[in-house]
C-alpha cells in the first residue's frame, strides 16, 4: 500500500470475493454429485435423449435431483421446455 492508495476509491467487489463466490457454487455442485449414486448422471443423459426426440432442449434445461430422507428417497426431474 502506498500513499496513493489512500485516495483510491474502495472497489466494491474484490477479485477474492468473486473467487469465493465461484468456489462456493462449484464446490456445492460437485459435492452434490459425489453423494448421489453413479447412475443418476447416466439416467440424466438418457432422459435428455428421450426428450430430445420430441423437443429441442439444452443440457442445462434438465435437472435431476435425488433427495434422501429418512424413510424414502425422492427423485425430482425438472425440464424447462422452450416457448
Amino acid at each position: 500500500m502506498s500513499i496513493f492508495s489512500y485516495f483510491r476509491t474502495q472497489k466494491k467487489t474484490t477479485s477474492a470475493s468473486v473467487a469465493k463466490e465461484r468456489l462456493q457454487i462449484i464446490v456445492a455442485h460437485e459435492r452434490n454429485k459425489r453423494t448421489q449414486p453413479d447412475y443418476i448422471e447416466k439416467m440424466q443423459r438418457e432422459i435428455l435423449e428421450v426428450i430430445r426426440k420430441y423437443v429441442a432442449i439444452d443440457d442445462d434445461q434438465v435437472s435431476v435431483n435425488l433427495d434422501n430422507n429418512d424413510e424414502c428417497s425422492i427423485l425430482e426431474l425438472n425440464v424447462t421446455l422452450p416457448e
Binding site: M1, S2, A16, K20
Partner: protein, 270 residues
C-alpha cells in the same frame, strides 16, 4: 500405536513435499521416531528436498518386491537422529505399488516408528489413492487460489469414500487443513482468498498457515527442510503446525501483515 499421516492436495505444486519434509522433520526433532515415505513413483523428489539424493541405494518398490530389506532401504537423516526417509522408485511402471505390498511395508514400519508421513503425488489417480488409503490423518495442503481449493475438496471426497477407514466403516480419516503460500498483504487488498474464506468452503479444522516466503526456495536449493530455518517465518509457521499436531494449543501467527516502518509504508515498499 503408530500414526499414519498422508500429506495430500489433489493439485500439484502447492507444497506437499515441502510440507511432508518439514512436518516429518519437526516431529522427529521433538523426539518422535518418524519416517517420511515418498509415494510419487517415477518422480522421486523428497530425497532432494531432504538433501539425501546421493544416498539413495534402494527404494520403496525394491522393499515391496523383497529385493532389499527395510534396514537397507531406509535413509537415516544426518541432522535429526529420529528421522528416516523411504525414497520413491524411479520406475516407469505405474502399477509398481500394490495395496498388499504397501500394507505389508506400512505394517513393518508401524513396529518401528511413531509417525509415518506419506508424501502423496499430485492428482487423484492410483498413486494418490495409494498414499491416502491407509491414513489415520490427512493434511490437506491448499493454496489460497481457486483451482487448489476445488481440488482439495475433491481429495476430501476421496478420503471420505475410498480410504480404508471409509471402506471398512471405521471412524473417518482425521482431516486437517494447511494453507500454504499465504500472502496477508494481498488478502487485505482483496486479491487473495483469506484463511477464513478457505476454511468456510472446505469446512475442516485448520492446522496451520504457512506464509509465502523466499526461505522455502532457499531451503529446497540447499536440501534442508524449511522448518530447520528457524529465522524464517515459514519455518516458524511449520514449527507451530507440528506443535498443534501434537495437541498443543498454539495461536495462529502470520495471518496479519507484518508491521512495517512508517517511511516504508509511505513509499509502498514491499
Amino acid at each position: 500405536m503408530a500414526k499414519i499421516i498422508v500429506v495430500t492436495s489433489g493439485k500439484g505444486g502447492v507444497g506437499k513435499t515441502t510440507t511432508s519434509a518439514s512436518i516429518g522433520t519437526g516431529l522427529a526433532k521433538r523426539g518422535h521416531k518418524t519416517v517420511i515415505i515418498d509415494f510419487d513413483v517415477g518422480l522421486r523428489n523428497l530425497d532432494l528436498i531432504m538433501g539425501c539424493e546421493r544416498r539413495v541405494v534402494y527404494d520403496f518398490v525394491n522393499v515391496i518386491n523383497g529385493e532389499s530389506s527395510l534396514t537397507q532401504t531406509l535413509i537415516k537423516d544426518k541432522r535429526i537422529p529420529e528421522l528416516f526417509i523411504l525414497p520413491a522408485s524411479q520406475t516407469r511402471d505405474k502399477d509398481a505399488l500394490t495395496k498388499e505390498g504397501v500394507e505389508k511395508i506400512l505394517n513393518e514400519l508401524k513396529e518401528r516408528f511413531e509417525y509415518i508421513i506419506c508424501d502423496s503425488p499430485a492428482g487423484i489417480e492410483r498413486g494418490a489413492q495409494m498414499a491416502l488409503y491407509f491414513a489415520d490423518m490427512a493434511i490437506v495442503v491448499t493454496n489460497p487460489e481457486v483451482s487448489s481449493v476445488r481440488d482439495s475438496d475433491r481429495i476430501l471426497g476421496i478420503l471420505q469414500s475410498k480410504s480404508r477407514r471409509a471402506e471398512n466403516g471405521e471412524s473417518p480419516v482425521e482431516e486437517k487443513l494447511l494453507v500454504t503460500r499465504y500472502n496477508p498483504e494481498r488478502v487485505i487488498d482483496g486479491e487473495m482468498l483469506s484463511v477464513e474464506d478457505v476454511t468456510d468452503i472446505l469446512a475442516i479444522p485448520l492446522l496451520g498457515v504457512i506464509p509465502e516466503s523466499e526461505a522455502v526456495l532457499k531451503a529446497s536449493n540447499q536440501g534442508s527442510p524449511v522448518i530447520l530455518d528457524e529465522e524464517s517465518l515459514s519455518g516458524q509457521a511449520y514449527g507451530d503446525a507440528v506443535a498443534r499436531l501434537l495437541g498443543e494449543e498454539v495461536e495462529h501467527r502470520f495471518l496479519e501483515v507484518q508491521k512495517k516502518g512508517f517511511f516504508k509504508r509511505l513509499m509502498g515498499g514491499a
